[in-house]
Subunit: 527 residues, 2 copies
């Protein structure tokens, strides 16, 4: 397919060079399928000479039925002083059997002299012969000019002579790399323009790193200067501070520069697919990631919330739905009634900003926040608060009493913490006991057990996440803690909060809200 | 002090508008002191009209003895249709008593019409009168031209007329805001150049947001176009995707553009101080943060490690020590040891990098870190670890057993949590009980009581701070937690750490280290 900008994702190669990133063979296949679903033009899937796992991947990959993407294997120019055909690394690249071959070569004379310890002219021959070899084999050759911009700063003539050699050898793409990630947009622009002068007919690309936090800006600048091929990784990980985050670059190119990078209609999936890659790599997407982060369209200050309701353009640079994200109006002491009313409307659509319930909720939130509660990350607890204020809520159960005992060393045949809980449901009491790793786990287990016979649906709930924040640490162990819990029933996730100077009480409050929330929704489903 | 670039940090205002960021009064003071230590020119410390906590802060702040920074309060132009003196928001700003007053006003006609619902001319008057008022009061007025760049795109003449009004009213700084964070460097550059034409004698500033991942690039571009005042937040948090991360911007300006932003010698502390602000806000510094992240100078690919050993410039854009960071070679044992040896030398000066204790400590730390321990914020625990490795440490006591019971509702005449602890000191046992607000407090009280008759000096120890972090939230209530404790004897503070899936056990470990550390120092005093 022909796009304005050709995207090459290197999650499986440069991304795998990020600290803490390791892909199994199965992971690599799952990432490949995800990138193909998004529709990037090229997937740089590994360095077959560097490890057997990558070679095994290429063996399996030939049977993948990719819809949109083509695979490429990554390697270097031939070693100094040998024939290209006798270089085992070159043979591995060939054996990988991919349509695309990415060859990196040195453009910075410092690297040629000190790292390769080769003659400058020999390096030119290494570039030229390696590219010629793969062109003769009918492959698409992408030449990565490593350290091109640092090379220009050091010895521009030499850097450009490496590019000339690659063009003359028939490289299909010349990719200018800011390998150390330290360049500013101005030098990127100058470098791209210099190359275009000598490589008018070859497609030029950019490969940027984020060591100065400028990978996105440098990639955009390069595109504006004439590059039509961009390398990066969907989530942004890679060596050191990472590569250009394609999940942030592609929306900028498509929505703001009107340059098509992906098959039509695929941009809305970019958040979901980026999360999937992150999930496979076992890392988290930062909440404040441009375009796709959960905070990217969260509005907190009262004046911002007020503005958004009047005209969303007032505080949003794009429509969040264009990238499959959504707007969130946060609740806080610096937010105002406008945010509250939006939440109340979901339960009682007739309510306006001046409704007494909204006024009293605003007061209540201010007071609760001063005590350490925070509803921003606890939508389900906030909904229970609204329902209580609307007098549309009767708790399904109450905890009459509980005890939690933690002992070290543990007694025989029992975990360190054990708890019993007595609940009241309607007019029926139930008491149950359980053990756990810590006191909160034990309490949670006992509470679920006590409620099980009344509400079998609770069996489906699992805790997804548990966070503790000491609100004012200076009170030390009698400081208040805020507990945030994320629960799931497998289909939907919800968040609740509890605050107390006693961590067990704070956890109890968040656990009770979580269960009540599920029961409210089950009851409404039946109505 | 006169710098090339004046830095305004808005962690306490725009930063506090970031999702999940809440500062207590005590937090705000700690952040202010940290920013002053770094030496930013201005600290925008809050919006006194928006909430009582900010006003209370300004009341307390006048007694802070800041060495480098000046405070400013943030608010808006007067409301439409009233006299500036009758605007309660303006009165709050005045009352805050700061040297600097930051006034934001509308530069985008869309906002004037749809959000303020005011006449275009009335908005000009609001800007003008508000600035005039504060100049008459002898304040330094910083005018934030909200949405300036979007305003230029919509109605450039009007946007520039708001700037003209601010200049004529005597604003000391004109700050151009990319409030929605959606602009590219090219439009930032054009906007700054347009303003410089009409405001030649006023100092121009930039306030960028990161919604397209370009806040850093836009700030650098603005500086290159002539801005000499930059706003941002040290860690980078703020409304939605956050503000310009000053911890990444300042190194770029100082090291690459040779523009002084901080007092001489302070740049090396930027990582440590940014971490401190993050710690106060209870957020993590991303590992891949430019310049200061723990991965920023981590080298993983074999060829990179090889290059770094030959010449560090080959794969590093700056020397990590310039920002107080350090190189880590992930595939070798060299990484980390230099830091460890510095700590070991404090106890045993003769030790070198190749000493077996240093080698085994490096191994041990790697293992412990993989289990969730972190010694960065726990120097006392780390020292105990070193002493143990040097075989220069015999614990003063051991906890033989303990039990903690939490019950709700509480029994009569006793607090919700109670604990007993049995300790062994030399050959003597002691058992003691105590109560507390929560289980950790009860355990702490009982432990001190049991040890009191052996070590009367412990009476002087108080816990100053207690922090809990869930290490992997996805395991929910059986996730590991890391507890950090700060203790004091009134003269000296020290920090210890504990890790466990059981919060009581994690706290126990940190408490024991804290007491042992004090006893070690008491014993050495006597020697």
């Amino acid at each position: 397919m022909n796009f304005d900008i050709e995207i090459l994702d290197t999650t499986l190669r440069d991304g795998a060079q990020g600290e803490g990133i390791t892909f199994s063979l199965r992971d690599k296949i799952a990432v490949t399928e995800t990138l193909d679903e998004l529709g990037v033009s090229w997937i740089e899937a590994g360095n077959p000479a560097s490890n057997p796992k990558d070679m095994e991947f290429f063996r399996l990959a030939s049977s993948l039925n990719l819809k949109n993407s083509r695979l490429c294997a990554f390697g270097s120019t031939r070693k100094k002083g040998i024939n290209v055909k006798d270089d085992s690394q070159i043979c591995s690249l060939l054996e990988a059997g991919t349509e695309g071959i990415v060859i990196f070569g040195k453009s910075w004379d410092l690297h040629v002299k000190e790292i390769l310890q080769a003659e400058l002219q020999e390096n030119i021959a290494m570039i030229s012969e390696t590219i010629t070899f793969f062109k003769e084999q009918g492959r698409t050759v992408i030449f990565d000019a490593e350290h091109f911009f640092d090379g220009c700063a050091g010895n521009k003539d030499y850097a450009l002579s490496t590019i000339k050699a690659a063009v003359e050898a028939g490289a299909d793409r010349i990719v200018l790399c800011d390998t150390n990630g330290g360049n500013f947009p101005a030098s990127i622009e100058a470098g791209v323009r210099d190359v275009i002068k000598i490589a008018a007919v070859t497609q030029i690309g950019i490969h940027a790193h984020d060591d100065a936090g400028l990978a996105l800006a440098n990639s955009i600048t390069a595109v504006q200067a004439g590059c039509t091929h961009v390398q990066g990784t969907l989530v942004g990980f890679g060596e050191r501070c990472g590569n250009t985050a394609l999940s942030a670059l592609i929306p900028s190119l498509e929505l703001k520069l009107n340059l098509r990078c992906l098959p039509e209609g695929n941009l809305v999936s970019i958040g979901e697919l980026t999360r999937r890659v992150a999930e496979i790599a076992n890392v988290s997407i930062y909440d404040d990631m441009p375009y796709i982060g959960s905070h990217a369209f969260s509005h907190k200050a009262g004046m911002h919330v007020d503005g958004i309701i009047k005209n969303s353009r007032s505080f949003e640079h794009i429509n969040p739905s264009a990238v499959g994200n959504e707007r969130r109006l946060l609740l806080s002491e610096i937010g105002g009634r406008s945010a509250i009313v939006e939440h109340v409307k979901k339960i009682e659509p007739s309510v306006t900003k001046d409704h007494p319930v909204v006024v009293s909720l605003a007061e209540k939130i201010k007071k609760l926040e001063a005590e350490g509660w925070a509803y921003e990350g606890a939508g389900a607890s906030f909904e229970i608060l609204i329902r209580r204020e609307l007098q549309r809520y009767t708790p399904f159960f109450s905890i009459e009493a509980y005890r939690v005992l933690s002992e070290h060393p543990a007694s025989e045949n029992i975990q360190c913490s054990h708890a019993w809980v007595k609940v009241l449901v309607g007019e029926q009491y139930e008491i149950a006991a359980a053990e756990g790793v810590g006191p909160v786990g034990a309490l949670d287990n006992a509470l679920r057990r006590a409620l099980a016979r009344f509400f079998p649906v609770l069996e489906k709930i699992r805790l997804e996440d548990y966070k503790v924040r000491v609100i004012d640490g200076k009170e030390a162990t009698s400081a208040k803690v805020r507990v945030l819990i994320e629960s799931t029933d497998g289909q939907k996730n919800w968040n609740t909060v509890g605050v107390s100077a006693d961590i067990i009480e704070a956890s109890r409050a968040a656990l009770v809200d979580s269960i009540e929330y599920k029961l409210i929704y089950e009851a409404e489903k039946k109505e």
